[in-house]
């Protein structure tokens, strides 16, 4: 059987990698959306709307 410590480290890595990668994904997604919103707002203001 696998070493118990190895199993523990693997499991903890999965948990924290999952949480932090998802958090990073959320923040990157938010930033990209905000950028697009800014661009579109500028586009609309150019057209006097």
């Amino acid at each position: 059987m696998a070493n118990a410590f190895t199993a523990l480290y693997v499991a903890y890595t999965i948990v924290w990698a999952g949480v932090f990668v998802y958090l990073l994904y959320l923040f990157m997604r938010q930033r990209a959306i905000n950028k697009n919103i800014e661009v579109l707002k500028q586009e609309l203001s150019k057209h006097g709307k």
């Binding site: 499991a11 999965i14 999952g18 958090l23 959320l26 609309l44």
Partner: protein, 357 residues
């Protein structure tokens, strides 16, 4: 409905980070495994000697201990047995006996051949009889001549590995918040169908995505534990594992459905209905280990087990872990709902810009 929780996001994030840190410290340095899972053979024997127990399990490890043997010297195979009526009573067992090329016939499963293949299911019912060596005991099987000798190895006794069991402090709360996420998807799906308010749809979609995230973590960490404790990563005959996997697939389908439908209203309506129908998989997964052994599952029944419980330290740790993961879920949900709102705003802007062209 307006959650109005956005302004508290930093607070939620701070609290969940602090609780997570406490959980990690407790899990790594403080909490032992479940109290009943550190019993040694000496502790276990007085309580079960003379009683009839059923052990069942599967061949997790195979070791021919006497490869050079005569026909009178029967082969020996080391297997791992789990008592399904009391999950935590895991036994590293040595099964010996029978003639070469012939193995026990243990009801209800017949195992024959020179080797017990890995993963073979084995179960036996019989009376526990202490031997001269208190570190082991005999289990007399129903079949008159069959005797399974169970011996406990090492100081850890008969139970699960204390180290790998610490996975449980993160695996179980992950599963818990995934259930919470899917439940919120149901609730907010129903609320959307009643009111057609898109804010409900945003919360339903966000909680489903988070539910899938945490279910993925639970499903990924579970096999690591299982490999250490059961000897295999996955068991397709374990109801808990299979129903949880099906639940995970169903909610991945939910996310795929949302990604495939472009129209806002159609997407919200279809996914609300899907979320309500798909929720049936949640109680199936949650309850499957509770009604074992009516159905076959060797997955631990963590809370409200009739056959024991957690030690105080383990109980504190798992309690804090559950609260920590719940706060983490709320923190992520707030951020995720904000993103949904931003996406809706972006789509509205795109429509306005497109309409002008």
């Amino acid at each position: 409905m307006d959650l109005k929780l956005g302004k508290y996001w930093a607070w939620f994030a701070g609290i969940s980070a602090a609780l997570m840190l406490i959980t990690v410290l407790l899990a790594v340095y403080y909490a032992p495994v479940a109290a009943s899972s550190v019993r040694t053979a000496n502790e276990l024997l007085p309580s079960i000697e003379g009683s009839t127990i059923t052990v069942a399990g599967f061949v997790a490890d195979r070791e021919i201990m006497n490869p050079i043997r005569t026909p009178e010297d029967p082969p020996v195979t080391a297997i791992t047995l789990a008592d399904f009526s009391d999950y935590r009573r895991y036994l590293d067992a040595v099964v010996s006996g029978g003639l070469e090329g012939e193995w026990w016939t243990i009801e209800p499963i017949t195992v024959r051949g020179p080797y017990l293949p890995l993963g073979t299911n084995v179960s036996a019912t019989g009376e526990v009889v202490a031997t001269h060596d208190s570190s082991s005991f005999m289990l007399s099987c129903d079949s008159s001549d069959d005797v399974v000798e169970l011996s406990s190895p090492g100081e850890a006794g008969i139970m699960t590995s204390p180290i790998s069991q610490k996975i449980f402090y993160f695996h179980m709360p992950s599963a818990w918040v995934s259930y919470v996420g899917f439940f919120l998807t149901l609730v907010f799906g129903v609320m959307y169908l009643r009111t057609r308010d898109r804010r409900y749809d945003r919360v339903a979609a966000s909680s489903a995505e988070l539910g899938v995230l945490f279910a993925t973590i639970a499903i990924a960490t579970g096999p690591v534990w299982a490999k250490e404790e059961w000897g295999v990563y996955w068991r397709w005959d374990d109801t808990k594992l299979v129903t949880t996997f099906v639940m995970w697939l169903v909610y991945i389908g939910y996310l795929m459905l949302r990604a495939a439908v472009v129209d806002h209203n159609v997407r919200a309506r279809m996914s609300a209905v899907y979320g309500i129908l798909g929720f049936v998989t949640m109680p199936m997964s949650l309850l499957s280990s509770r009604i074992a052994p009516l159905i076959r599952s060797s997955h631990p029944q963590v809370i409200a087990s009739s056959s024991g419980g957690l030690s105080m330290e383990a109980g504190i740790t798992i309690g804090i872990a559950v609260v920590a993961f719940t706060f983490l879920f709320i923190t992520m949900l707030i951020k995720r709902v904000e993103i949904e709102e931003s996406e809706d705003e972006l789509e509205d802007l795109k429509r306005r810009v497109g309409g002008e062209d």
